[in-house]
Assembly symmetry: C2
């Protein structure tokens, strides 16, 4: 199973001003594409802290590292310089990136969104990439995404604006990941178990997990009294080369859990597929 | 300014099943209490990955490290054993923690939420703490929180259920942090700047930031055309020993930005205090 790690950069994420959306969206996309997302981190707009975060995540040797934020024109957009510093690469003007930035301004001028280009230093800043990096077109914003390979990890750097991140991911990254890692299809089913106390489910869950070691099985704890009223949600997720096999494995695991929980005196609800 | 780091533990956070709420809530509380939250991370329910995350965050020597998740009775609740392993401490039955667990079951039985206690192994598991740790009462759930000091960092471990995390934070942790670090008061003001292109704001922002080095100043990028319609939100946050001083510093910085942006031909909106 290929692995992925994520890094989101921005003071606003750690000040409680903005609730993370990018790590959550990328976790969903990558999981559904069959990756195990092992680590995700958020760091402030500080070159040393960005570099520490990058080096920690790279040290775990994920197949893919996706970073978001800090690509824009303002002085606190430091991600590419921190990446260059962490990997001891020089920053250099990338002519393809410079063309992407200019083309974006051409579009905005043609469509009368703007009456003039941004300042020269800002346009140059967004085209300065670590040496060896490839820019990725940004269909909805100015700053291009960036791709860089490093010691077996493919690093992608994306803007922090969710619409730009999602557009670049969909257009450039998802097709490449599917082609390169071909990880399979992920399916998830859920089952509601009516028990007053999560502790009562501990042994059934453990036994079922041991009988289905390749299926991801997890109960989502809830506070009293919600757990007894609404039930505890148990998720079974499976990865397989076809969707049918993945669904069958998740379903079989929850069928087993239903029998095991009922034998332990618990009542259970219906099994639902939560992914297609 | 005291520093804090955060770690959230749980596969569901990295599978895209649950969108993080705990890191976001803790970031807000700690920022408003005057901490700089430097790093936040999420890791899967895997003892090695939990230990890697803990050791990375501890290596940055924060004053406080807050962890959430993985304290419950099920077999995938691994946080305390991973913490003990990472710090090379034995796990031992803590009698105060055992009493807290039993008292919680007493309350649930008395109030007729339950008709019997949870399984013995589950009650014992929640009372096995790294040697030297102190349990923190959980006003709304079974598993106690945990406090442990390690090489200048105070580590707090909290349940992942948001209601339990927030109750323990409010009852036991916030008063202790305020007493111990007395960091001051944080105030934040926001200003809406109407410009078509964030790049046009780069120089005014840079100049104002240099004139107010102790104030946190940040523009929140928006995609086109939302930026030109709604404006770009700029946040100024300041820490001071009194609320009045913190508000004055944030306000003075945005007054300066308003003048600087207007001189650069941009139109700006009203300044609002976003914290009290």
């Amino acid at each position: 199973m290929p692995t992925a790690s994520l890094l989101a950069i921005g003071n606003e994420l750690l000040n409680g001003v903005v609730r993370d959306a990018n790590l959550f969206a990328l976790s969903q996309y990558l999981t559904q594409m069959g990756f195990s997302v092992d680590y995700a981190a958020m760091v402030r707009d500080d070159p040393t802290k960005i570099a520490h975060g990058l080096l920690f995540l790279l040290a775990q040797q994920p197949d893919v590292l996706l970073c978001s934020g800090g690509l824009g024109p303002t002085e606190d957009d430091l991600t590419l310089s921190a990446l260059a510093e962490a990997l001891q690469l020089p920053l250099a003007l990338n002519s393809t990136a410079a063309d992407l930035v200019e083309n974006h301004y051409d579009r905005l001028l043609t469509q009368h969104y703007l009456t003039q280009r941004g300042p020269t230093f800002a346009r140059i800043k967004m085209a300065m990439l670590p040496l060896g990096a490839t820019p990725l077109p940004n269909p909805v914003g100015t700053a291009p995404g960036v791709k860089l390979e490093h010691q077996g990890t493919v690093i992608y750097v994306l803007p922090g604006v969710p619409a730009e991140l999602e557009a670049i991911f969909a257009a450039s990254i998802a097709p490449e990941l599917l082609h390169r890692f071909n990880p399979g299809t992920w399916a998830e089913h859920t089952l509601l178990v009516h028990c007053d106390d999560e502790a009562d489910l501990a042994i059934p869950l453990r036994d079922v997990a041991r009988r289905h070691p390749d299926v991801y099985l997890k109960s989502l704890a809830k506070p009293f009294p919600a757990a007894s009223v609404e039930g505890l949600q148990v998720i079974a997720g499976a990865l397989a080369s076809t969707a049918a096999e993945a669904h069958a494995a998740a379903q079989a695991t929850l069928d087993d859990l239903r029998r095991t929980a009922e034998a332990a005196g618990l009542s259970v609800g219906e099994i639902h597929a939560s992914t297609d």
